[in-house]
């Protein structure tokens, strides 16, 4: 029985001297959303791993910036880097996230990043 070979270096080879997420630039194709678009966060299943916070699920947000292209964290956690996606910086109003948020501070906001799979037009 020969020892199985695991390719542990492919990311190092790809990112050295370029950086991550810069090394995935140009791999995600055309972005589906643009700055200023109104979106809603999908509530996708996430049995194994996710970086989409529960508090954002179902909430409306506005696209503030297209930040970079990268495999989604949900894929990359399993070393699947085959289909990079656009990542968006999103701004939420706090009162859309937390129903009890005080009305006196209704201008307060929260910004976070999510990949394209989590977004739908609102």
């Amino acid at each position: 029985m020969s020892k199985p070979h695991y390719d542990r270096d492919h990311h190092v080879k790809k990112a050295t001297g370029i950086g991550d997420p810069q090394c995935f630039k140009g791999e995600a194709g055309a972005p589906k959303f643009k700055v200023g678009d109104k979106v809603k966060i999908k509530n996708l299943p996430d049995i194994f791993y996710t970086r989409c916070q529960m508090y954002t699920r179902g909430a409306p947000a506005v696209v503030a910036a297209l930040v970079y292209e990268s495999p989604a964290a949900e894929d990359e956690a399993w070393d699947n880097t085959e289909s990079p996606e656009w990542f968006y910086s999103l701004i939420f109003r706090q009162k859309d996230l937390w129903p009890e948020y005080p009305a006196a501070y209704e201008s307060d906001t929260l910004e976070t990043e999510l990949s394209e799979r989590w977004l739908e037009s609102a």
Binding site: T16, S70, A73, Q94, L97, D108
Partner: protein
């Protein structure tokens, strides 16, 4: 612990008050990785020593430069990685990995405050932190308490840091959950007219760069937080 009369044994104090389950987990995973040959104990020592040489000074200087030079401020807000080169931090090629940073990603965003907008940074999912330019995160930044409360009760948590903001200032919580890392570029305080870059750098503390404090002339130290006793103290035999 009270000692009996006549007990003259010298007992050394424990090295730490408390060892958390995560620290035990870290040791276990590290030892397994060394046994499997993924990295050596020597690699681990070099890495640990390297990250402990990092601190918040480059980021403080970046802010001071941005206050003094509007062109540099524009660059910092547009491309934080490029602006970091000016203060001696290369997110892409610095030691020890030379393909990224101790937090693996090289995407720094500089969040510009205005008189009506205040940013504050948190990572609710773990404790993502711009280590190449800010050094190791403070202990409170990694606590579940700060992480889960800041997103929901930001003004209350900022008040605990001594920062009370009027309602016409928009508080924007930045939840650092993916591959970007963040520092805050605060508003230059009044009373610093004519100051040099070195003088300005001194008042930009780590807490100002996370966003839980505002730079103030005369204040060069971080916010003092209460120290609580260990929940599960290490027994002192």
């Amino acid at each position: 612990m009270a000692k009996k009369d006549g007990d003259h044994r010298h007992e050394p104090a424990p090295m730490v008050d408390e060892v958390s389950e995560f620290e035990i987990l870290e040791v276990a995973v590290r030892e397994l990785a060394i046994e499997k040959g993924l990295f050596s104990a020597e690699d681990h020592r070099r890495w640990t020593e390297y990250v402990h040489t990092l601190g918040p000074l480059p980021a403080a200087r970046l802010v001071a430069k941005a206050w003094l030079d509007p062109e540099f401020k524009k660059l910092a807000v547009e491309d934080g990685v490029k602006a970091s080169l000016e203060v001696g931090v290369d997110w892409v090629k610095d030691m020890p990995t030379q393909f990224g940073t101790p937090s693996d990603y090289c995407n720094l965003r500089v969040l510009e405050d205005t008189p009506t907008l205040k940013h504050v940074v948190v990572c609710t999912l773990c404790s993502c932190y711009p280590r190449p330019i800010l050094g190791q995160s403070p202990e409170w930044y990694r606590t579940p308490n700060y992480r889960r409360r800041l997103v929901r009760y930001p003004r209350q948590v900022l008040t605990e840091f001594g920062l009370i903001l009027p309602s016409d200032v928009e508080v924007r919580v930045e939840d650092s959950n993916q591959k970007s890392r963040f520092i805050v570029l605060p508003v230059r305080p009044e009373g610093t007219e004519g100051w040099s870059e070195d003088q300005l750098t001194e008042i930009v503390t780590r807490d100002c760069l996370i966003g839980v404090a505002m730079p103030t002339p005369g204040v060069t130290a971080n916010v003092k937080l209460p120290v609580h006793p260990a929940v599960n103290p290490v027994p002192h035999h």
